[in-house]
Symmetry: C2
Subunit: 460 residues, 2 copies
């Protein structure tokens, strides 16, 4: 008979110990976008490698031009084989002053009666989520001496900086990474009670643009009124990116964007997501999204454009009467359907340059350009996973689209011909990428139990 | 017979020694906008106080809530009395990486055959200019044992941060500061060969605006497409500040702006300033100023608006897919004629708020609000100064307007009922407020000689 009940009981009994293990990993500030933290990134990779080795994995650090990849194997001849993907790097922590506790000193807090969370950078994204899978394996091995399926682990350290080196790594290690299906734990639930499987992901084009005017900073009293100001030029460009209906104005941007089916619209309507519940939680009232679209459509299945950062001129204390020589912005587009990321990156650059007179120039850095992904909604693996999640949470698991992007899913399909199953336990209020990031203990604990059930189901 | 020739010869012979004195003052990083440098500000004030004492002045540091004011007296009963104003504080030095040499290690360079300059933050603005007057006094006293006029010196340490404490100081010390006329050396020449007296100054309204949207930073993958982005909101506001003709759109902004007389227009036309010579020197070709206005009018006698700094979201290395909770900009207006600075500060705030929905807020800091100033173009002092400058430079001194603002001139008029004579030797390419600020040795040397002549003329 199934040993699953014993495995689940062990996970219940082992929660505090699993929290302690997660905390020790969270204490390592593995910020991949900042070179100052690269030695810590390597420590975080080594931490996971050693833990997987203790579970009987053959585990190593795969070197890349950037941060190392944790690669581990636990084959099971004759059984199905899965590839689990996650990332050990985390977002920067600024603005630091908005954190109530140290970002790399994890603490467990009760934020509502009976609702406990662990607070730290990476608590959810993605260390906490990765450990739900690792703990499920740990308990299963402890109770059964084995895993129901063969497992390969691929945990990278550059997801938060665009996974720039991952495609090459996947290509070079295609044989070692081959599996029947990929599992990814980097997505969210529908709400605190309703588990979700993510079946579609938006793509991403992320660029930095720098507008250059005069060849030096200028005194606004001497040159103001005549000299072009790059902050004004950049602001006009940003202001022009959306029209009054919320549509993005870059020519050709909507090529390859499909309209949703009526049944899809009906499903969305059933979920009944309101501005009040979705935006109210972050102190806003009104969606600025495309007019005539459902809120859930705006955030899940429509392409978007956001300026993620802007800077230019004097930004210090007090005043400086300067006209800057240049101004910069980080501009990202979320893509859907068949939008071509390279075409859109080029279209944005052409769009900007078309607005500049011959004495003003623009320079660009393309950080990432990945297409949107759709995951087959009817594979046996997905059916088994949905049943397992429904069993664990006592609530029908829903299939949703994600506003975010997980570029590796496209790499797996393109380079390994492999589909991906996206199951995650994050919540909208987890503050990923923000101060006071947290992960609900219910997500961490029931996430472990969910994976134990899914592993069991995939092996049967 | 006049001892002026002897004074001028002494200034010629003493140039290297006067450069050494200036350099030792320039080495003190008296950045008033950054509290980290306040101890240095006090050292810079003490340096000048001691130097003036060595010239027989009764010199002291006048305390204010901010940086101290250097106050010094050398009365001459029966003779005219002048009040000299300057400032010992300097602009911040960022971006530091664009300096070819250390900003506070002054060096003398030959930038063209026979054209030498001293490079350092403050070389021109305003330490170099202040020292032209001090050296003129030093040589005059050395040769004649006295000065032709009574002199009071007022050199403040907060000009670059809006002179916030100066009006109160002037009011409280009105008796000590009373004089027949004020002299200010903080302006420029028409060109390297043509001396200028500045007869009108633009006013200034300098504010910081912060746009606040969500109550925390957001993940653009979760909230993009629905959540308001403060960088977009701020960019739309900045983009809307000028219309397609270059006019500023804040309601009521042009109230109190007079049109130039035909004779003024004729004078401007005579100067024949071209975009090529004015903007070419900074790598630009086209003025972005108001259509249908002469370039010299755009930069000297029309009100302007410039964003001096902007920041929001992630501005570090690499990428972060964040929608910021807030974004900020430093916005300054240059005022002319009878424009009311307080009205315009309020009009800008109302203009911004009118563009915000009820779930987005704006906060403001008003750093300065000073009116434009016109100096009588026909006073005896101005006539004597013009003759002295023409004599020294062998080129007719021109009377010009300044795009910049020297708020203290308004304070002198309002609080002491005293007119001001603005004579300075800065050049358009001095890079004041920019990396590699410099002061031509010809400005420094002939500036000293010019003041010696003006002092003589004012005393006769």
């Amino acid at each position: 008979m199934s040993k699953l009940p014993a495995v689940l009981s062990r996970l219940d009994a082992d929660l505090d110990a699993s929290l302690a293990r997660l905390s020790s990993w969270l204490e390592i500030p593995s910020i991949s976008t900042d070179s100052a933290y690269w030695p810590d990134s390597r420590r975080a990779a080594e931490w996971l490698r050693a833990d997987l080795e203790s579970l009987g994995f053959k585990a190593s650090l795969g070197e890349t031009p950037g941060q190392p990849v944790v690669l581990a194997h636990r084959p099971k001849p004759g059984a199905p084989h899965v590839l689990f993907y996650g990332h050990y790097d985390v977002q920067p922590v600024d603005p630091l002053n908005l954190w109530d506790t140290e970002p790399f000193k994890p603490v467990v807090k009760e934020i509502a009666p009976g609702r406990k969370v662990i607070v730290a950078r990476g608590a959810c994204d993605d260390k906490g989520q990765v450990m739900t899978f690792v703990e499920a394996m740990r308990a299963t091995i402890a109770e059964t001496g084995d895993l129901p399926v063969g497992v390969t682990i691929l945990v990278e350290g550059e997801e938060e900086s665009g996974s720039v080196n991952l495609p090459a790594f996947v290509r070079e290690n295609a044989e070692a990474l081959k599996a029947d299906i990929a599992l990814v734990c980097d997505t969210g639930m529908w709400d605190r009670d309703t588990p979700a499987i993510t079946a579609s992901l938006r793509g991403m084009v992320y660029q930095e643009v720098t507008i250059k005017c005069a060849d030096r900073d200028l005194h606004s009293g001497l040159f103001g009124g005549a000299a072009a100001n790059p902050v004004h030029v950049l602001s006009r460009i940003i202001a022009s990116l959306h029209d009054e209906t919320g549509r993005i104005t870059v020519p050709g941007f909507y090529e390859g964007v499909e309209e949703p089916s009526n049944s899809q619209k009906a499903d969305w309507a059933d979920l009944g997501l309101t501005e009040e519940e979705f935006l109210g939680q972050i102190g806003l009232k009104h969606s600025i999204g495309e007019k005539g679209r459902m809120l859930i459509e705006q955030i899940q299945s429509r392409p978007t454009c956001d300026v993620n950062g802007i800077w230019g001129g004097y930004t210090g204390e007090g005043t400086k009467t300067v006209i800057a020589a240049k101004a910069s912005a980080k501009v990202s587009f979320r893509l859907v359907g068949k939008q071509d990321p390279d075409k859109i990156a080029a279209a944005f650059q052409a769009y900007v340059r078309a607005q500049l007179p011959d004495d003003i120039s623009a320079e660009f850095i393309v950080y990432s350009a990945s297409p949107a992904i759709a995951v087959p909604a009817d594979s046996p693996a997905l059916t088994k996973a949905r049943a397992a999640l429904t069993e664990e949470w006592g609530r029908k698991a829903v299939t949703i689209g994600s506003g975010g992007s997980v570029p590796v899913v496209g790499d797996f399909k393109r380079l390994l011909g492999m589909d991906t199953l996206l199951v995650g336990f994050g919540l909208d209020d987890d503050r990923v990428h923000s101060p006071n990031e947290k992960y609900d203990l219910s997500s961490f604990h029931k996430g472990q139990r969910s994976w134990a059930r899914i592993l069991q189901a995939l092996g049967s």
